[in-house]
Symmetry: C2
Subunit: 597 residues, 2 copies
Amino acid sequence: MAEYIAPLREMQFVMQELAGLEQVAQLPGCEEATADLADAILDEASKFASNVLSPLNWSGDQEGAKWANNAVTMPAGFKSAYQQFAENGWTALACDPEFGGQGLPKILSTPVNEMWKSANMAFSLCPMLTQGAIEALLVAGSDELKQRYLPKMVSGEWTGTMNLTEPNAGSDLAAVRTRAEPQGDGTYKVFGQKIFITYGDHDMVSNTVHLVLARLPDAPEGVKGISLFVVPKFMVNADGSLGARNDAYCVSIEHKLGIHASPTAVMAFGDNGGAIGYLVGQENRGLEYMFIMMNAARFAVGMEGVALAERAYQRARDYAKERIQGTEVGVRGGPKVAIIKHPDVRRMLMSMRSQTEAMRALAYVVAAAMDAAKRHPDEAERAKNQAFADLMIPVVKGWSTEQSIEIASTGVQVHGGMGFIEETGAAQHLRDARITAIYEGTTAIQANDLIGRKMAREGGVTMKAVLGLMQQTLGKLAEAKGEQFAVIRARLAAGVAALTKASEYMVATYGSDIKAAHAGSVPFLKLTGIVAGGWQMARAALIAQAKIDGGDADPFYAAKVVTTRFYADHILTQADGLAESIVAGASGVMALGEDQF
Amino acid sequence: MAEYIAPLREMQFVMQELAGLEQVAQLPGCEEATADLADAILDEASKFASNVLSPLNWSGDQEGAKWANNAVTMPAGFKSAYQQFAENGWTALACDPEFGGQGLPKILSTPVNEMWKSANMAFSLCPMLTQGAIEALLVAGSDELKQRYLPKMVSGEWTGTMNLTEPNAGSDLAAVRTRAEPQGDGTYKVFGQKIFITYGDHDMVSNTVHLVLARLPDAPEGVKGISLFVVPKFMVNADGSLGARNDAYCVSIEHKLGIHASPTAVMAFGDNGGAIGYLVGQENRGLEYMFIMMNAARFAVGMEGVALAERAYQRARDYAKERIQGTEVGVRGGPKVAIIKHPDVRRMLMSMRSQTEAMRALAYVVAAAMDAAKRHPDEAERAKNQAFADLMIPVVKGWSTEQSIEIASTGVQVHGGMGFIEETGAAQHLRDARITAIYEGTTAIQANDLIGRKMAREGGVTMKAVLGLMQQTLGKLAEAKGEQFAVIRARLAAGVAALTKASEYMVATYGSDIKAAHAGSVPFLKLTGIVAGGWQMARAALIAQAKIDGGDADPFYAAKVVTTRFYADHILTQADGLAESIVAGASGVMALGEDQF
């Protein structure tokens, strides 16, 4: 089975020429992030992804994580791969240097993380969740908690989990019922059950650090009464050595559609007297700390969409080049040809590729904005970049993941009957992709965040500013020569007009008829993704054309103009219909009574 | 787990009021197909579907068909279910009365078959393939072959298979290499391997009748040298009793994404001296016979799309009504509500439902046309109906199956995290649906059939006639009162204009630039489905409104107008963008060199 090969040229282009690695490297604390270092890191990461993680992707899926006696055994090869992963320093890449991390900017860790996700998404969830737990402790943990837990989590010696969801609570964290009882000695006893806990238990490391949302006695009802606790699997002695087993057990794992190698645990805390926990930060502020980390987590899941789309594309492309079937259309009596010569196969590949490129372009640009938001010396610049990232993160998450499902499904289709056979590997990408639009907030949750918190709350100011940036790109397209750019400009202009119309509607309607706004929120998120992705593709095409005009013969640049043109004709053309559905389609959504369903 | 409930009211409406059961009952040989008989049959079938087939759907998926020692064991319950299915006469429903069938028209067997597919698609494939084999024998078999095989296939005592595909041949039947050697006694010995053989072996009946494509010695190369043979699993003696085991064995079954209970066999013919076979019809005309049956088979797979969409909708709807999560949007501090109150959940359900209704409406109308094409006393009427069915069958097949994947995926999304858990059952529908757009000709094959054989070859005459019928419906919409119909009319008018533009482009381009035509063929098929489905929904809404205006208080009619309005605002709005991609999007599809992938 073909292994993942990182699209290094494309990653370098997007990172350096489109998202502006050079500008990020000028930020305080990012001075090391030169193009040379970036190339070296991406090169090393690509080898690890291809040689170590990718070969375990399908075997891990088929074998799956196994549960017995309250413990999870990982599929063959995972433990060794994780140990190498940690030894090579990959867990520490983006972490705070104070605790052993390398402190690299988001624009550099993003392509590296994309590789892990492409090569083996089920594996990649373990470091991803650990990263989330690290950030929660950094945000709110006491110095003692940080010193005790962070160095070994950063080094990869221990892993971390996030325990939010409870049975029958789903996305509704107000319904959290897990409770924490103070023991008078600064510790708490935690009691309750959590579900959907990614890597809640496994055998790759010696300890797992659970971050658990729970209620203190007499805490207020709802989301304002939730606190955050550290509950280690094994107690940690003052000298850092491991102590007794804590009362936190994985009592079962889920039988899922995909990511079979990633154990999704039901965690029982306190069934045997109480799980010892430590309060993170202040009482009743747990949800607030979660929200601080949410941007990073949602961005990371959006990158899963990009990564799975890339992997599905690679597999479909390789198959289409190898598979000989039929003769070339219009060539009577010609020889049998590879199916990549068939126009519909080509259309499918171009659709997969152009959308993946657009999703990646938007995501890396957002990653660079997150770096600037965190580190730019100018406060106004920080705020501007934060606002842009805040607006676009639900789009990166919702749009990239929804499209990754469609793209992975198209990848199956390229394979014909072989796509339905599990051994081919194409079906796994579809199965794996399906969760990305659900966890870390469903697409509807992203969409409601986009139109509510990120737009209506501020009267659409940031969206207007982004639409202004898109107009600037349209101006540059008008100066570019040739039919390709004329078409790209016309299609993007129509898309920007559609997004402008829909944005104005959303901001106006959110206050007057919030149900109507919500009825169009997911189509609006998709529209925003399509147009923002098209905007970045247009920027990419302009950069590429400038290179070509300057005499650069790298065929990469010519291809970028072609994929942008395809995106314009086949993806941006969807914008107007979506805008129509949004601004005029609410009435039919809610018109039926519940008894009519 | 919720069992399938046939949507009887909807089926009756589409069958009787939209597709015209009454007109079909006036055709010679269809006199029995009264509304009363139809109601009685649908009622009985719905009970069998709900009580016998549906309960085996998930267990069959989880257990799967098992292979050992060249034989397949079906999941628990399947053998008994099949025997009841045959005893109750369901295998004989649409078959020729001469061989024990009930000879019911397509408009009546179609909803019945939809029920089997909804309730248990993996099960339904066995009678479907048997039906295909029966029709092949009816078309071309000698009287002796018919007498020997058909009665027991019609009664359900034996099942049938279709053996077309070979390793590395896929959809390219010109590449068939299986050979048949005449033995001088009227029999042949067949040697070769076939793959993807649905129900190639199983333990539900005593004998299986394989229809096998193979080449005679000295047959011409390519598709004109393929003959069709009957190869029984067990030889059949002159008295109808079973004789020796034939040399036709299932040597393995595939490990698939879905339809796990349907064994997909690798069949080895002649590994032990030769499988005895009998020529069906004339030498070298095998593919021709297959093509005669192809309409029926493709229509049947299109109905799988309708059926799985219905099942996915039912499961999502039931979950959305039961699952309590969050408060109603815009109601501060309100009680927790069922998620069906959330606008985006409602939008998803309406999207699933309105498209399923549109797909069903188009399919049943095509079924009625197939009845008229076969039985109308007037030759011109027969030809007109045949042309309509020929044009629309690739659309029913391609569009309904592609949408069923999207609809089943939306069904998963409605469930949130639970949708990713296999026990919920939503994921199975997505896994099962994925094959429908591939087998019996991929969507690209349907699309190329649509634009080539069904349109370009006749200069688009039938499509023009259908667009004329759509204009008639637009005229009636213009006479209807109220905002709902004004919107429906405007949206459908835009859709018809888009389809007209794209159709003219296709007919013109097919001759001048066939690659450009093929580059847009799948979007064109989708566009045709969207607009034809919208046309049928508009017809349905007009019929419903006439009932309402006539004082009929059945809430079904009011709901039909609402789903049509939703379809207009959310689905028909996609038409214009698709037409743009078709008429202006070809250049980007083929612009990259193969080495640029």
